[in-house]
Symmetry: C2
Subunit: 190 residues, 2 copies
């Protein structure tokens, strides 16, 4: 998807969401800064923008925080050196969630919960481990194959929130899609 | 080159050099941290280690600084947000050098000066613009095709120092090569 198109979509949908993750792994730092600028020009508040992997880009751009994966810098090191940033840790198991919590992550992104277009051929995690994770006293955001129809299930499984990629960005009408998710979240909120 | 092999080479040569640049562009943050750890285990002081592009990795690893290229974060932004780091700016022209100086770079890396294995088919810059750059009141480190034989020329062209890749790392005897450079630098120092 062209970045300009993303800007247009996000302008419409951001009032319904709490965070937008920029996870363009092939982009340079300079390009990531340009994406953040494009989003803020489209009235997206910096406080809703999270940057994948690069704490330096997050800090310099003024974004809210950084989403760290296994290949990223250590969560505790980022916490110590970038106290201004909100830190999300991408995890795939309960032990990884425990580790992220102990290292000071502000929340974990757990998945993929259901079959997902982005992870073809990989077996989804399902809801069991999510339930265990939800006892950890750290916010768990679920990702992977989440639809408005299964959102309630995910919340009942202990997720504090959901993250969606294709479900919104590849929807025929992204605004309509995000409203459907928003409604499901409000109905299923526990 | 395997990283372990690099560690062995660098252990021998570091007394003769002032900085080692890690510019493994395809490595993840986690891998870059591992490289820094391997180097420090081989007794390379952190004060000699520069990280390419990633200010966050430089900060977290305790390295001396970060080398920024065109595709990197803006020099002034890095200077402002990472005052602990030494900042090198990679440039290819006098206007870029002027810009780097105005934005607060601590030095510029200028090249490639001569024909270089790393830039096949690209026309080298030669020494003319180097001379102009050397008037800028910022340290200019020259890179590209520099050998012990032409080092004196480069210093007389106004370079404060030289940076070498294949000339050392691909030498049959890297220690011997670095000693030859070192001798040329001491002879040609102005």
């Amino acid at each position: 998807m062209a970045i300009e198109q993303l800007g247009e979509i996000v302008k419409d949908i951001h009032p319904y969401i709490t965070a937008i993750h920029i996870r363009e792994k092939q982009k340079t730092a300079r390009e990531l800064i340009q994406i953040v600028e494009l989003l803020t020009k489209n009235n997206i508040p910096l406080s809703k923008i999270m940057i994948n992997d690069r704490a330096d880009v997050a800090l310099v751009s003024g974004a809210r925080g950084v989403q760290l994966a296994f290949h990223s810098l250590d969560t505790a090191s980022v916490k110590e050196n970038f106290p201004q940033l909100r830190i999300g840790s991408s995890i795939h198991s309960y032990p990884e969630g425990l580790n992220a919590k102990e290292k000071g992550a502000d929340y974990v992104l757990y998945g993929h919960v259901f079959h997902s277009q982005s992870k073809p051929g990989k077996i989804p995690k399902g809801l069991e481990e999510l339930k265990k994770l939800s006892k950890l006293d750290i916010d768990v955001i679920a990702i992977g194959g989440i639809t408005p129809d299964n959102t309630e299930q995910v919340l009942q499984g202990g997720a504090k929130g959901i993250a969606v990629m294709s479900g919104v960005l590849e929807a025929r009408d992204p605004l309509l899609a995000v409203k459907a998710y928003s409604k499901a979240l409000n109905n299923g909120g526990v």
